[in-house]
Each structure stands twice: as structure tokens, then as C-alpha cells.
Amino acid sequence: MSHESLISALYVFALAAFLGYQVISRVPPLLHTPLMSATNAISGISLVGSIVTAGAGHSTTSTILGFVAVVCASTNVVGGFVITDRMLRMFKRRDVTKKD
């Protein structure tokens, strides 16, 4: 890893850490469960690494590892987002529910 990449990575990490703190601490308790499953879905971003590993064909071992990783990560992503959506659709304001 080059010196410049490391420095950039550290900057990005530091800024993301602050931002994470700021953004997350504004989420109300009402939405903590959706928050958990949303971040769970987002943590499936390791899919990005998995895809390259599965497709680069370095060796059979790494292709297999990559394939399993793709399956796991995409389960995580799809499952996480689907369920977050499902939960969020349930949160309704008073006026909407009054009608049914």
C-alpha cells in the first residue's frame, strides 16, 4: 500500500467516523430497529470485495472463497434492505391510519 493511499484512507476513515457519529446519533429510538437492519444491509458492502475475488480467477481456492463470500454478502444485502423496507412501510402517521 503506497504512502499516499494510506494517508487518504486515514482521512476518509476519520471523516466517516465523525459523520457516522453525527448521523447516527440523530436517529430517534423509534427507528432503532430499522437502523440496525439498514446498517446490517450496508455492511454487506464487502460484496464489492467478494465479487472481484470470485471473478478474478487467481486460483480455484480463491474463486471458491469468493463465490461463498458473494453468496453470503448478497444474502446480507438483499435480506437487510428488504426487511428494512418492510419495517419502514409499517410506520404510519395518525391521519393515514385513521382511514382504515
Binding site: L30, T33, A38
Partner: protein, 458 residues
């Protein structure tokens, strides 16, 4: 050109993830926010598919297809009450992916890994491995496949610490000598074992704290992957995730007035702790269903306080029906939601939302506590610890200092539970012995359904 396209798709994805989480600051904007985050993920995937190192798409597409189907199935069919388990399982998947990518990267570069890359790689594999097994055990406990109570033995903490120290020692050795492949796999193996040991002594109600921590580790593992691959979207998404988990666990601990160490190593909710609760003088007063129905029907203001029992009884729809009937009679109905009621943060909110309770009726601790003084009837539904007045009044109680919903300040309290069962903390609850309190035994869903009928005829 291609590289630019990939990099821009990653930048866009990062921005969309942040916007997505920002959206969660309000229920009105949350849905749109999640769509942005989903779109961000799509961009990141499409960008990655352009990567020049990719020579064959067979395994990628196969993996994506299988994963999507499994994910979709899990997403669509899991009931809301099983949310904690599902999240735990999903963590395990995400963490395993990070660990596997780490192993593959290690195999690829074994000879020529520089210090920084090897450190990041080691972190990734350690965190990924321990999160995988830890989350799986958490899943098993929450799902009831394994006993939910803390599993403890003498010298447990010492043993765990030794194991952790060994793992970290190997890790440091590897950073200096990245070539020792055997040691690398031993490290990964130890991390897998450590994940199990970490979760073993933790009771099922403390699981959310641990799950949030594991969430945080999974995020940090992704961020470490980002350092390994010099990929900034991984760093950003991983870090956001890491912080989210960390903040949630802090918030939960604060809502219980316990330190994170106590949660992790205290084996809280085990039999020993329960022993301390001491004897309670006085007796519980059982009241009839009809009496309560009349009381509710002629009240001005009723506050429902749901807890873990509501979730196990799946009584969220029944409580909403009761509320509807009462509101039709002109009774003001509110819900008091304790931040750690149930078995995951925000658990009660999701369940009640599922039953169509508008979120404007859900009140947080600080909002509802001042209102109990003017409340005619507080109905405690399968909640116990979160309404335990000992937390406020008895400084020697194990839960002393935990903020509670002060239902005992209202004119009358009704407690719906099945029997003499204790809450997660295993403590006796003096609320049940107060003169103001009446007990109504039975499964919450049954009781509530019968109350609806009784109120309709009152």
C-alpha cells in the same frame, strides 16, 4: 475511463449511503433514505462488475443469484417478532464474507504483503471470524435453539482473555512475518472460537447489546477490507456501520444504567444475580377482567406500557384493537415505550407499527413519565424490568439507576402477565405488590382480546 467510472460509482454509493442513514432521522424521510441507500448499493455493485481484474462472471452471477433469493426469502417471510434473530444471522453472513475475502487476499499476496496491508488484513480476518461465530451463537440463543441463559464457568473471563491475548500475539507476529501461512490460519481459527466464547456468557436479553457490538465489528471488518483494497466505499460504509453499532450499544447500556463491561462479562440475568432480589413483603392483588374493562371504558387517559411479553405473546394487534375500542369511546390512549423494552432497541416501536399504531402515539420515556400523574389507568403488558420501581427507589438493587417508566405514579395500574415469572434481570418487582396495582394473569394476547370484548359491552 473504466477506472473513473468505477471510482465515481463508489463515490456516489458512499454519498447515497450517508444520505440514506440521514433519512433515518425521521420516519417521514426514512423510506426515501433507504431507497437511496439501495440505489447506492446497486451503483457500487455495477461499478465493481466493471473491474478489470474480473475474468469470468459465472461464479459472480451464480453467487449473486443464490444470495438474492435467500436474502429475499429471509426478508419477506421472517415475522417481525423474529427480527433480533434475523439480524444476528445476517451479521454472521456479512462477517463471513469479509473474513473469506481477507483469506483470499492473503493467499493471493502471501509473500509480498507490506506492514500496513497485513495489519488491515489481520484485523479483517480476526474481526470477521469472531463476528461470524459470535453472531451464529447469538442467533441460536435468540431462536431458542440453545438455552438463552448465560453459560458460565469458573475462570471463564481469565480463559477468554488468555485466548484473546494469544490471538492478538499471533496477529502481531504475522504483521512482522506475513509469510507464516499456518499461523495465519491458526489465528483465524482462534478468532472463530473466541467469537463463541464471547457470546456464551451472555443472557438473551443482553443479546442486543452484543449484537450491536458485533454489528460494529462487522462494519470495522469491512472498513479494514477497504484499507487492504484501497477502496474508499468499503472504508466509508464499514465505518458508518461500525459507529452505528457502537452508538446503539452505548445507548442501550445507558438506558439500563450498566457499563458495557458489565454487559459483556457480568453474566447478568443468570441465577446468581436473581438470588439477590430478596423477599418482598405484601401480596399481589388479582383483579377481575370485568372490573378492569369497566375501569378502562370510563377512564379519561390510558397509557399502555408494552414489554418483552408483548412480543412473545404476539399481542401487538390485540393491544391496537383495545386501543381502538377505547378511543372510539373518547378515551385518550398513549403508549409509553422504554428504550430497552423487549429484546432489541426499538423492538416495541416496530411491533406496534406493524399493528398499525401511528407513531405519533408512541411516547419516549422522557415524554411520557410526566404524564403518569394524570393517567387513570396504566396497562403494563408483559413488561417487568422496565417498570421496576426498585431501579429508582432502592440504591442496592442490581438495576439501581436504570431509568424506568414510572407507572406507579398513575391512579391505577394493571399488569398483564402469565404468572409469577420474573423479568430478564431475575429480580422481584415491588410494583406488583403496591396497593395501586392489580394483576391480570394470562397470555397477553388472550387477555387483551377478552378485554376488547368486555369493553365493548361495558
Amino acid at each position: 475511463m473504466q477506472t473513473y467510472f468505477i471510482e465515481l460509482s463508489y463515490l456516489l454509493a458512499s454519498i447515497l449511503f450517508i444520505l440514506g442513514l440521514k433519512g433515518l432521522s425521521h420516519p417521514e424521510t426514512a423510506k426515501r433514505g433507504m431507497h437511496l441507500a439501495e440505489f447506492g448499493m446497486l451503483m457500487a455493485i455495477i461499478g465493481t462488475l466493471m473491474h478489470h481484474e474480473i475474468v469470468t462472471y459465472t461464479w459472480i452471477l451464480a453467487g449473486l443469484a443464490i444470495g438474492s433469493v435467500v436474502g429475499l426469502a429471509m426478508g419477506v417471510w421472517v415475522p417481525m417478532t423474529a427480527m433480533p434473530q434475523r439480524t444476528a444471522l445476517s451479521h454472521a453472513f456479512g462477517a463471513l464474507a469479509a473474513a473469506l475475502v481477507g483469506v483470499a487476499e492473503y493467499l493471493k499476496g502471501a509473500g509480498h504483503l507490506d506492514t500496513v496491508t497485513m495489519s488491515a488484513l489481520g484485523f479483517e480476518v480476526m474481526l470477521g471470524s469472531l463476528t461470524t461465530t459470535g453472531s451464529l451463537l447469538a442467533f441460536a440463543k435468540l431462536q431458542g435453539m440453545v438455552r438463552g441463559t448465560p453459560m458460565t464457568y469458573k475462570g471463564q473471563n481469565v480463559f477468554n482473555m488468555l485466548l484473546l491475548a494469544t490471538t492478538v500475539g499471533i496477529f502481531i507476529y504475522l504483521v512482522i512475518n506475513p509469510g507464516s501461512m499456518t499461523l495465519f490460519f491458526i489465528m483465524a481459527g482462534l478468532a472463530f472460537v473466541f467469537g463463541l466464547l464471547l457470546v456464551m456468557p451472555i443472557g438473551s436479553a443482553d443479546m442486543p447489546v452484543v449484537m450491536s457490538l458485533l454489528n460494529s465489528y462487522a462494519g470495522l471488518a469491512s472498513a479494514a477490507t477497504g484499507f487492504v483494497l484501497s477502496n474508499k466505499v468499503l472504508i466509508i460504509a464499514g465505518t458508518l456501520d461500525g459507529f452505528s453499532g457502537f452508538i446503539l450499544s452505548i445507548l442501550m447500556c445507558r438506558a439500563m444504567n450498566r457499563s458495557i463491561t458489565n454487559v459483556l462479562f457480568g453474566a447478568f440475568g443468570s441465577a446468581t444475580t436473581a438470588g439477590e432480589s430478596g423477599e418482598q413483603q405484601g401480596s399481589m392483588r388479582e383483579v377481575g377482567l370485568e372490573d378492569i374493562a369497566t375501569q378502562l371504558a370510563y377512564a379519561n387517559k390510558v397509557v399502555f406500557v408494552p414489554g418483552y411479553g408483548l412480543a412473545t405473546a404476539q399481542a401487538q394487534h390485540a393491544v391496537r384493537e383495545l386501543a381502538d375500542v377505547l378511543e372510539k369511546r373518547g378515551v385518550t390512549v398513549k403508549y409509553g415505550i422504554h428504550p430497552v423494552a423487549g429484546r432489541m432497541p426499538g423492538h416495541m416501536n416496530v411491533l406496534l407499527a406493524e399493528a398499525n399504531v401511528p407513531y405519533s402515539s408512541l411516547y419516549e420515556l422522557e415524554q411520557i413519565n410526566p404524564e403518569f400523574a394524570t393517567t387513570d389507568v396504566s396497562v403494563v403488558i408483559g413488561a417487568n424490568d422496565v417498570v421496576n420501581p426498585d431501579a429508582r427507589d432502592n440504591p442496592s438493587s442490581p438495576i439501581a439507576g436504570m431509568p424506568i417508566l414510572e407507572v406507579d405514579r398513575s391512579k391505577s395500574v394493571v399488569v398483564l402477565k402469565r404468572g409469577q415469572g420474573k423479568g430478564f434481570s431475575g429480580l422481584e418487582n415491588p410494583l406488583f405488590f403496591k396497593p395501586v396495582t392489580g394483576m391480570l394473569y394470562g397470555d397477553a394476547k388472550d387477555t387483551l382480546t377478552r378485554l376488547v370484548q368486555a369493553v365493548q359491552h361495558a
